[in-house]
Each structure stands twice: as structure tokens, then as C-alpha cells.
């Protein structure tokens, strides 16, 4: 718990209020963004950070209004560029906690390049990707995560685009931390966010988020109360991956290394894959991400991958220190005079 010195000198515990700005929240009533905001604001006092140590950086889109609602430092930047802007903040000030708020269009379409490069560089930041499989702010065009055949204003005959699977994409982009959660379960979100925050390096979190105006029920088939036991596969490090109303189902790798759903009683418990977030090679995590092509089939949630790798800004700091060691602190005069100097009198 973060504590502050109160006026009377006693320790004051920070609360949600300390992390909430005075701005009126302006998402559509019923939007999944509200529950993510609540989860984050409630979690903050538990992370042991102070509001001034946090920087929320967003791009453009419904979810990108998020920073305005946080009583922290924040930048509502331009479409797709949040990971780049956040990289600048993180490099300049490794002592800060940088969060990126983005959406499926922002991060995977116009900003795809910045996302993958931030991930491979392992810049220390927590990236929350609000995936609602639609363009909300521009009023309902198909997005890079919309399913093939999706009928929208811009695709009256159905979308032709094959969608991205954000978790697969992040794994392919060398991300050191990759997770998925959803807007229907605050506890799960908070567990995942906390892990992402604690991770050193780029932490990528896909959040299934319902846009009740333009794509209502996109995740209904897996997130409805009745569906969850059958459809959500909770990944827990060190445990066999099992799910189903009676945990009768499990995940096993077949001879090709692909993840498959098996009935545990049929194959035997020893065949069930034990989840290992720390596996250096991302192949198994990737196989898990391919289990469900779309969130209409049993879908893993939780932390897919969490490995340690040096952070970009950590390495940059190291280079700065080495340069100082080797060359001494910068001296402008000797730099300027480093070419052959002559005197005219």
C-alpha cells in the first residue's frame, strides 16, 4: 500500500480517489471501458506507486480517452503512436511507471509498427490493448481483429480481411510478457494488470472489451456466465491446463506441437500440458494462442508468457554509464577541439 504523509504527520493511505481525475467520464453507458477504468483505479493504491510516478499514454480511439480520467501524468497522443511516445517517456525517465492505453485499431492497424518494435525492444511499459473488434470512435467500421465476413458500415457485403490474433502477434514480436483478460471479471483483470505492472520490460495485455453500441456481444459466446466454465481456459503457472464445468477437459500438445483440447479421462492426466510462463522459447505459448481462432471457441486467458530479458532503457543507462567511465564526463571544449585545431593571431 502506498502511503502519504498526512497534514498531521500521520500516514495516509492512498485510495481510488487519489488516482481519479475530476474529468467527467464520457464513454457510452454500458461500455466495457468503464469496468477496465474501475479495475485500474482500484488497483493503483495497491501497487505502491504514487500518482506522480505514473504516466498514461494513449493514441486515438474510445479507450484512448483513458488518461484524461486518471489523476496521473498523461498524454493523449496521435493515432497509433502511443508506444513511440511512451518509449520516449520511458527512456528519458526509467524511474517512472509508463502505461500505454490503446485499442485494436490504434495498436494493430495504424500503429502496428510501433507496437511490435516497442515489444521487441522490451521498453519498460504496460500496454493495455482494449480489443472490441470494431472501430467505435469513428462509429462502427470493421477493425483488424474483426472476424472475416463481418458486416459493418464499411463492409456491407462482409469484411474480407483476415483478423489478427493480438496474443499471437505479440508473441511473434518477441514480447517478454503477454497476457489476456476481459472486462467481465475485475479480479482477473487486476491480477493480470498487477503482474504486467511488476514485469520488467514491455508487458502486453489484451483485454476483451465489449462495445455495446457497435459490436455488442462480440465475446458473449465465451464470456457469458453460463459459457465461461466451458469456454475460458485459465492459465496458471505450474499447473496442468484444465477447464470445463468439472475440469474434465485439458490442453495437450499433439505430435506436431499444436495445442489441442483433450478429455483428461481419455488421455490420462500426465498428457495434460503443465503451464510454464517462463519457458524461454515462445513456441508453446504461441500454440496456446492458436487454440481459438476467434473468441467463439474455448479461449485461454491469463499470462501466456513472462520471461526476463534486459530492458531497453536499462541497457541504455548502462551504455551511458560505460561511456562516462571510458571517455569521462562530457567536456564540450575538448569535444569541439577534437579535430585538428590551429590558431590564427
Amino acid at each position: 500500500m502506498a502511503a502519504d504523509q498526512g497534514a498531521d504527520g500521520g500516514a495516509v493511505t492512498l485510495t481510488r480517489k487519489d488516482f481519479s481525475s475530476d474529468q467527467e467520464v464520457r464513454w457510452c453507458p454500458g461500455c466495457g471501458d468503464y469496468s477496465v477504468l474501475t479495475a485500474v483505479q482500484l488497483l493503483m493504491p495497491e501497487l505502491g506507486v504514487r500518482p506522480e510516478e505514473l504516466v498514461f499514454v494513449s493514441g486515438i480511439g474510445c479507450s484512448s480517452r483513458f488518461p484524461y480520467y486518471m489523476n496521473t501524468y498523461g498524454i493523449h497522443s496521435i493515432h497509433g503512436r502511443a508506444p513511440a511516445v511512451a518509449t520516449g517517456v520511458a527512456i528519458a525517465r526509467p524511474d517512472l511507471h509508463v502505461w500505454v492505453i490503446t485499442g485494436d485499431g490504434d495498436a494493430l492497424s495504424i500503429g502496428g509498427n510501433h507496437l511490435i518494435h516497442a515489444l521487441r525492444r522490451n521498453v519498460n511499459m504496460t500496454i493495455l490493448l482494449f480489443n472490441n473488434q470494431i472501430y467505435g470512435l469513428t462509429k462502427g467500421q470493421y477493425s483488424p481483429t474483426s472476424e472475416i465476413g463481418k458486416v459493418t458500415k464499411s463492409s456491407p457485403f462482409g469484411s474480407l480481411d483476415y483478423p489478427f490474433n493480438p496474443v499471437s502477434l505479440a508473441l511473434g514480436a518477441e514480447a517478454s510478457f503477454v497476457a489476456r483478460t476481459h472486462d467481465m471479471d475485475r479480479k482477473h483483470m487486476q491480477q493480470v494488470f498487477r503482474r504486467a505492472h511488476d514485469h520488467e520490460g514491455s508487458a502486453f495485455v489484451e483485454i476483451y472489451q465489449n462495445c455495446n453500441v457497435f459490436n455488442d456481444g462480440a465475446f458473449e459466446q465465451i464470456l457469458s456466465k453460463e459459457a465461461r466454465p466451458r469456454m475460458l481456459i485459465d492459465l496458471r503457472h505450474g499447473e496442468p491446463i484444465r477447464f470445463g464445468p468439472d475440469r474434465e477437459l485439458g490442453i495437450a500438445l499433439n505430435d506436431h506441437g499444436e495445442a489441442e483440447i483433450v478429455t483428461v479421462a481419455d488421455v490420462g492426466e500426465e498428457r495434460v500440458l503443465v503451464h510454464d510462463e517462463h519457458r524461454p522459447d515462445p513456441t508453446v505459448a504461441f500454440a496456446l494462442s492458436r487454440l481459438a481462432e476467434q473468441p467463439t471457441m474455448p479461449t485461454p486467458v491469463g499470462v501466456f508468457r513472462a520471461v526476463q530479458r534486459p530492458t531497453y532503457e536499462g541497457e541504455l543507462q548502462r551504455q551511458l554509464a560505460v561511456a562516462q567511465d571510458r571517455q569521462g564526463p562530457g567536456d564540450l571544449r575538448s569535444l569541439i577541439e577534437s579535430g585538428g585545431v590551429w590558431e590564427v593571431s
Binding site: G74, I75, L332, G339
Partner: protein
């Protein structure tokens, strides 16, 4: 005409006041390298000088063809010179293509040193010659020296053990040795440089040393040449000098500005010709706390720099025209966030990919207007290679003081060109730092857009500072509180405020200095790298007894406060520009002045003679 065969008994150097030498060869022949060396040794010897490198965009265009020709022109003199020279006095041609590509620039009577070995059928054919110009009278108007550089180099390198194929590549050092003798340059400096530069490769070092010495001795003993020449030290203003190119000067200027602004530099950029050398240079100086990032693209480079600025560092990015296009949206963001940010545009020939390695000044209107909405940004432009230092410093000063993005314009000619630089005493550099906000500024709250009444700059509160948490963004905001605001009146107020903030910078920049002469009715107004050519042209016109005035703009937005008044003093205004008249457009629009444009868009700087002719034409009403 054939090679000179005079024998001279005296062989004492003949003094010249100036000479223009052009080294030309295949792009793989190392012409830039030897040109650089000759320049450096002449600079440290004490000549004034200016250089003009010219090379193809392709790393290795087909060998032996005109397209693959790379050249380096250097002008050295015993007085202060302003340009790399209109026409070469001496051309070193390493092959027929180099001869053919450069011949039209030579005045009658100029000298040519040709690598005889390269003038064989295949090379002649590749260059598009039907006969051999060394034999068929093509070069009758010139003094031609035929030197078998390749075979002499191979001969000299034999004892080093270098394989002939490798040894052959040292022939540029043979040429350098010969020219070093011809112009009585200090030999030791070059020998020392070769030793150091090739310290890690014994064979190459030995072959280059042997070739260089062979070239030098050839000049001394072959008696092909009458006598060597010398160009005495120039009488430059007293001070300490070094030789410097524009890109290096710019990098130093940023480092100096970072130090004087008390801000670490966060430099993010994407490789692009001709700006990459700034990244190369800065990345060597991490001991100054300079953070350099090679971004994934031009847009990211700008975004990273802006993020750094928000976090309290000096965000800088450099690029060329195509990159400026891509950074337009980020510039708009920086302008709306009102954060310090410097964008350097090392201009090259456009549009599109255009002429990556050639110079142009056609991005002025892009810098001025290349963003959506009313989006004014301050613009400064460098006039000479060393002036890149001063303008980098000035760009940072304005950015930091006014919390605004600033565009610094240089160009390919400045970036790669070099000149002696009387560098400043670092103790004289002004403090340009600005304090960060530390306390709430409005009834216990922090209002991020509550401005300084004088500069209209908003407070710069960096993350980590308690009680000053705030959000900024690209949406229109209410002045003062910074809250998102779509109110019509507020928007117009903000648009006008942002314009006023930039306009007020005119109070804070020096008035335009005019090099006036009594009786002059014509003003030559320039900006950027045309400085040297304009000055030289004006000098010539005056030497011819005519009257002319000149002035050169460093600040393009806002203009110096006295510009309108200066323009009004003259009957005629001539604006030479390496574009189709962009500054002319601006001053016509702003001051209703009927300015005349002198355009040149050939990827090459103006020759003084071209501007001189136009001035005379205008004065004489011809």
C-alpha cells in the same frame, strides 16, 4: 595536345592565391576519402576553404559509367573565400567516365590529371566515348597530364605483399600523394593519418602508404610537372580554428545547447540521407548523457522525441524531406502540447525520393505550412557548415524558452560541405535553461496552460513532480486549465494565441543586418546555404564598380522585425533560391514586395557567377 614534358631546373613552388581542385572517379574509388584528407590537411595548414562533395545515390552504381561517378571539389585560398569555387582549376580524373562527367565544368586552360591506365577501350566505351579523348584532340583547350596511376600504384605496393586486386584500390592515395606534392601540403600529417586510420589492417595500411609516397615522389621526380604550387595561409580573423562539416557542427551545436539548457538530449531518428551523420556523430557522445535511438520509422522518431520532451528532456529528431512529410502529424501534436522539440530537416532534392544525395532548398514552404490546421512553428536556417552549430543552438533556445516545436533547415550541401570554423569559447555560450514548474499555479491546482504573460509559454511540469499531475493531448483545450474544450470561441482564441506566441519571438531575435553600400538600389536577399554564393557574387559586382546590397535571413519564421522596413528601402529585391521561389512567395505575401526570383534546382549550389550575372542584368535593366 600531349603531356607536358618541360624540364625545369628551378622547381621552386609558384604561389597561388587560390585553387579549386576536383577529385573525380568511380564511386568505389575513394574520392570522398582523399578529398576529405586534402581538405583537412589544408585546413590545419591554415588556408581558408570550402568543399562540395557530389556522389551518386547508389552505393555502387555500375563501375566505369557516368552514373557511378563520385567527385569532391575543394577550394583553398590565402584569403577568406565563400564558396567551393565556380569552376575547377584542376580535375583529377580516375577514369574516362569521371572525365566525361566533369569536363563541361572546366574553363579553358584548366589542368587535368588523368589516370592513363584507365583509358582503355572497355572503360572508354562504358563512358560513352567513341575515341580516346586523351589522343583525339578533345582536350586541346586544357593542360593534360597523363599519369599511369594504377600501374604505378601496383608497382609501389608490390613489396608490401598486398594482392594486386587489393593494391589497385590504393590508387586514390597515389592521386592524393601527387596532389599533395603539387600543392606543397604537409606530408607528415597525411602519413600519420593513414597509419592511424588503417592501423587494424597491415596490408591495406602498407599499400596506401606506399601508393601515397609513390604519388608524391612521382610529382617530385617525374618532371612531368613544371613546378609545384603553394597556397599560403589565409589571413583569417584571429582565433582558434578547426575544420568542420555541417552535420558534425549541428551535432556539436545540439550537445552545446543541451548543456547550456541543462537538459539531457534525447535524439531519435531514422536513417536517411543526408541526415544520418548527425545520428552517427551524436551516438558517439553518450558520455554527455546524450541518448540516441534509431527508431523503427520517421514517425516513431518524432513520437519518441516528444515523449522525451514531456518527461523533461531535450527531444530532437533529424531527417530529410521524405521524413518531414511523415513527421507532420507529430509536429502538430508537439505544437498542440506546447512542448520543446527540434526537428532538423537536412533538405535534399525532391519531390518524393527525388535526389537523395543532392542539395536543394525546396522545403521552406513545407516547414512553414506543411501541417493541417493553423499550425505555425518557428523556423531557423543555417547559412554555412559551421553556422549549423549556431543555428542548432538557436533552435534549441527558442524551443525551450517558448515551449514549441522548432524546425531547423539545413541542406545536403551544408551537411557534407566543410569549412574552417572559428569556434566559440565554450565559456561564452549563454545559459538557455528554463526552470521546470514545481508548484501548483492556480488556487492550489496545477493548470498546464496558464501562460507566461511575456513569452506566452506554458509551464513545463515533468512527471515525478508531486501535485502537478496533468494530462495533455492533441484535442483542443481550454486556455489555462488545459481541459478538453470544443467551445467555438475558445478554439479561435487558442488558434490566435498559438500564432501570437510564435509571432512574439520576433522581439527576441536580432534585426536583419544589411550589407549596404551607399547608392545601392538593389538588395539581394537570401536564406540558407546560398549565403556563400551570394556574398561572392556581391563582392564581384562591387569589385566591378557597381553598387549592390545584401542581407541573409537566419530566422524564417517569424521574420526579423525590421525585414519589411529593409525591403522597403530598395527599388529592387532579388532572391536567389534553390527552389522555384519559396522565400519570394513569403515576402510577397507578407510585405507586398515585388521580389524577383533567381531559381536553380539542379541539385547543386549556385555558382557566384550565376548570381553575379543576374544582379548585373537587374542593375542595368537588361
Amino acid at each position: 595536345m600531349t603531356a607536358e614534358t618541360t624540364t625545369s631546373s628551378t622547381r621552386r613552388p609558384e604561389a597561388l592565391d587560390r585553387v579549386v581542385i576536383r577529385f573525380a572517379g568511380d564511386s568505389g574509388d575513394g574520392m570522398q576519402l582523399v578529398g576529405d584528407r586534402f581538405t583537412d590537411v589544408s585546413a590545419s595548414f591554415g588556408n581558408d576553404l570550402a568543399t562540395l562533395p557530389n556522389y551518386p545515390a547508389e552505393i555502387r552504381a555500375p563501375a566505369g559509367t557516368i552514373a557511378g561517378v563520385s567527385s569532391f571539389q575543394v577550394h583553398i585560398a590565402d584569403f577568406d573565400i565563400l564558396t567551393p569555387g565556380d569552376v575547377p582549376n584542376l580535375l583529377v580524373a580516375m577514369n574516362p567516365a569521371a572525365l566525361k562527367a566533369n569536363l563541361q565544368d572546366l574553363p579553358p586552360g584548366a589542368s587535368i590529371i588523368a589516370n592513363l591506365d584507365a583509358f582503355e577501350d572497355r572503360n572508354l566505351e562504358k563512358a560513352g566515348y567513341h575515341g580516346n579523348p586523351l589522343e583525339d584532340g578533345t582536350l586541346d583547350a586544357f593542360r593534360v597530364y597523363q599519369v599511369p596511376m594504377t600501374s604505378l600504384t601496383l608497382e609501389a605496393a608490390k613489396e608490401t605483399g598486398a594482392k594486386p586486386r587489393d593494391a589497385e584500390r590504393s590508387k586514390n592515395f597515389f592521386a592524393l600523394g601527387l596532389i599533395t606534392w603539387m600543392y606543397t601540403r604537409p606530408v607528415e600529417t597525411i602519413l600519420h593519418w593513414i597509419e592511424e586510420r588503417f592501423a587494424k589492417n597491415d596490408l591495406v595500411r602498407a599499400a596506401n602508404l606506399a601508393a601515397f609516397k609513390a604519388g608524391y615522389h612521382f610529382g617530385e621526380t617525374a618532371e612531368l610537372f613544371d613546378h609545384p604550387f603553394e597556397v599560403h595561409k589565409a589571413q583569417l580573423p584571429a582565433g582558434r580554428y578547426r575544420n568542420i562539416s555541417g552535420n558534425v557542427a549541428l551535432a556539436y551545436g545540439l550537445i552545446a545547447a543541451g548543456q547550456q539548457a541543462k537538459l539531457p538530449i534525447l535524439y531519435a531518428s531514422y536513417p536517411i540521407t543526408p541526415a544520418s551523420d548527425i545520428l552517427h556523430e551524436l551516438s558517439k557522445h553518450k558520455n554527455f548523457g546524450v541518448r540516441t535511438i534509431q527508431a523503427e520509422d520517421e514517425i516513431a522518431a518524432a513520437g519518441i522525441a516528444i515523449g522525451g520532451a514531456f518527461a523533461g528532456q531535450l527531444g530532437v529528431t533529424a531527417t530529410s524531406g521524405p521524413g518531414v512529410d511523415l513527421k507532420s502529424e507529430s509536429m502538430g501534436l508537439a505544437l498542440s502540447l506546447e512542448l520543446p522539440f527540434v526537428l532538423v530537416d537536412v533538405q535534399r532534392g525532391g519531390p518524393s525520393t527525388g535526389l537523395p544525395t543532392k542539395t536543394e532548398q525546396a522545403d521552406l514552404l513545407l516547414a512553414m505550412y506543411g501541417r493541417h490546421g493553423e499550425a505555425p512553428v518557428p523556423i531557423v536556417a543555417a547559412s554555412t557548415p559551421s553556422h549549423c552549430f549556431d543555428t542548432a543552438f538557436e533552435a534549441v533556445r527558442i524551443a525551450v524558452k517558448y515551449r514549441t516545436p522548432v524546425i531547423l533547415l539545413t541542406d545536403g550541401y551544408l551537411a557534407n560541405g566543410a569549412e574552417p570554423w572559428r569556434f566559440p569559447d565554450t565559456a561564452d555560450l549563454p545559459d538557455i535553461s528554463t526552470p521546470f514548474a514545481t508548484e501548483p499555479n492556480h488556487d492550489g491546482e496545477f493548470w498546464p496552460y496558464l501562460r507566461d504573460p511575456e513569452t506566452l509559454a506554458r509551464p513545463w511540469a515533468v512527471p515525478g513532480t508531486p501535485k502537478l499531475m496533468h494530462r495533455v493531448g492533441g484535442l483542443e483545450k481550454e486556455d489555462g486549465s488545459g481541459n478538453v474544450n470544443y467551445d467555438p470561441e475558445n478554439h479561435e482564441h487558442m488558434v490566435r494565441l498559438r500564432a501570437e506566441k510564435v509571432a512574439r519571438i520576433a522581439r527576441d531575435i536580432p534585426p536583419l543586418e544589411v550589407d549596404h553600400e551607399d547608392g545601392a538600389r538593389l538588395l539581394v536577399l537570401g536564406w540558407g546555404s546560398t549565403w556563400g554564393s551570394i556574398k561572392a557574387a556581391v563582392r564581384r559586382v562591387r569589385n566591378g564598380g557597381r553598387k549592390v546590397a545584401s542581407a541573409h535571413l537566419v530566422h524564417l519564421n517569424p521574420f526579423p522585425a525590421n525585414l519589411g522596413e529593409v525591403l522597403a528601402r530598395y527599388d529592387q529585391v532579388l532572391v536567389p533560391e534553390m527552389n522555384l521561389g519559396q522565400l519570394s512567395k513569403l515576402i510577397r505575401a507578407e510585405f507586398l514586395v515585388d521580389a524577383t526570383t533567381l531559381s536553380k534546382v539542379q541539385g547543386l549550389p549556385f555558382r557566384a557567377a550565376e548570381i553575379e550575372a543576374k544582379i548585373l542584368e537587374m542593375i542595368d535593366g537588361r
